[in-house]
Amino acid sequence: MEIYGFGLVGLCMFIGTFLGRSLGVALGISGNVGGVGFAMLLLVAITNYLEGKGRPLHERTQNGIRLLSALYIPIIVAMAARQNVVAAFEGGAVAFLAGGLATIGAMLCIPFITKLTSPKKDKEAA
């Protein structure tokens, strides 16, 4: 059933967040360090393991997960509509330059880091 897909993602989310928050406590910072990442890795590990065993998730379970990922862009649009855009505009020159230059500079570094750190065979894919 489709709900199994929701349940599986939910389970990964809870385990991942538990790990992320535990890591936060262990590092002495309040918050969730990489919880979403752990949850994603867990979902990848579970689905790849099942496929490797020749027993992939039932089609309808997969549809549940696909429905959730199809909701992703609408959720992001809703997220955009509840951002504190006014604060960004009214933060003045310091906020604008600090945030803006950090963003643009970091983006321009991306091709160099990709090139420097990835194995040569990546070029074929590009």
């Binding site: 939910g10 992320g20 890591l23 590092l27 309040s30 918050g31 969730n32 360090v33 990489g34 979403v36 990442g37 949850a39 994603m40 890795l41 979902l43 997969q62 997960i65 959730l68 990922s69 909701l71 992703y72 862009i73 609408p74 959720i75 992001i76 649009v77 809703a78 997220m79 955009a80 509509a81 509840r82 951002q83 504190n84 855009v85 006014v86 604060a87 960004a88 933060g91 003045g92 020159a93 310091v94 906020a95 604008f96 600090a98 945030g99 803006g100 230059l101 950090a102 963003t103 643009i104 970091a106 983006m107 570094c109 991306i110 091709p111 880091i113 990709t114 750190t117 990546d122 590009a126």
Partner: protein
Amino acid sequence: MLSLIQGIFTSYGLVGAFLLVAIIMLISYTFASSIKQKRMGSAIAIILGLVIAYVAGKYTGGTSGVADIAVFSGFGLLGGGMMRDFAIISTAFGVKVENLKKAGIPGSIALVFGVIFSFIVGSIIAYLLGYTDPVDVATIGGGAVTFIVGPVTGGALGASSEVIALSIAAGVVKSILTMIITPFIAPIIKLDNPTAAMVYGGMIGTTSGVAGGLAATDPKLIPYGAMTATFYTGLGSLLCPSVLFVLVRALIG
């Protein structure tokens, strides 16, 4: 009549948000295909969402955009961290382990480099614009990492609330700018494969910005960028008030 409609929106908040987001997307995608830029549909929808948030913020004086208006409070739930993370995790379905392995090292290096880079840029700007106290400089530098790292750093170091507010604003600028410019800058920075997406998530790191930016660029890349970005704020909260602050104090203290 009006109060009747208001009543429906307030009691069916989440459904109302689905309805309105559907309308925003319909308008955006129709506009995108009418200018023959179908791929820009989600980018336009995100920008439209930000415009609505700006107008709503001006109108209510609140901090949560359109969600501060009672009839649109469903946006708070649909666009909140819970649904965002739930949906992000689901995008990992279909990701191949070998792609992750290939991008693991570049992604991790980008993560460390990205936090330090943003902190340094933010700190330099703060210093150049007249902030000379190492605590203020490090707090604004933290804000250039993400809008959570700024207040975490400022709180730990005892910065004034004015500077903390500024650091949040810097982080929000970063997040919103990322959502807007990513689809336009993607061809220039070759953001078109899983490895580049993981590097992108590590370099930029602001979760909402990365999520929005990749959604507007290529939905297939979302899980890779989101995977590294999720570690960014934590790493920033760890490094900025400690090692990086000590560095700032050594340089200008």
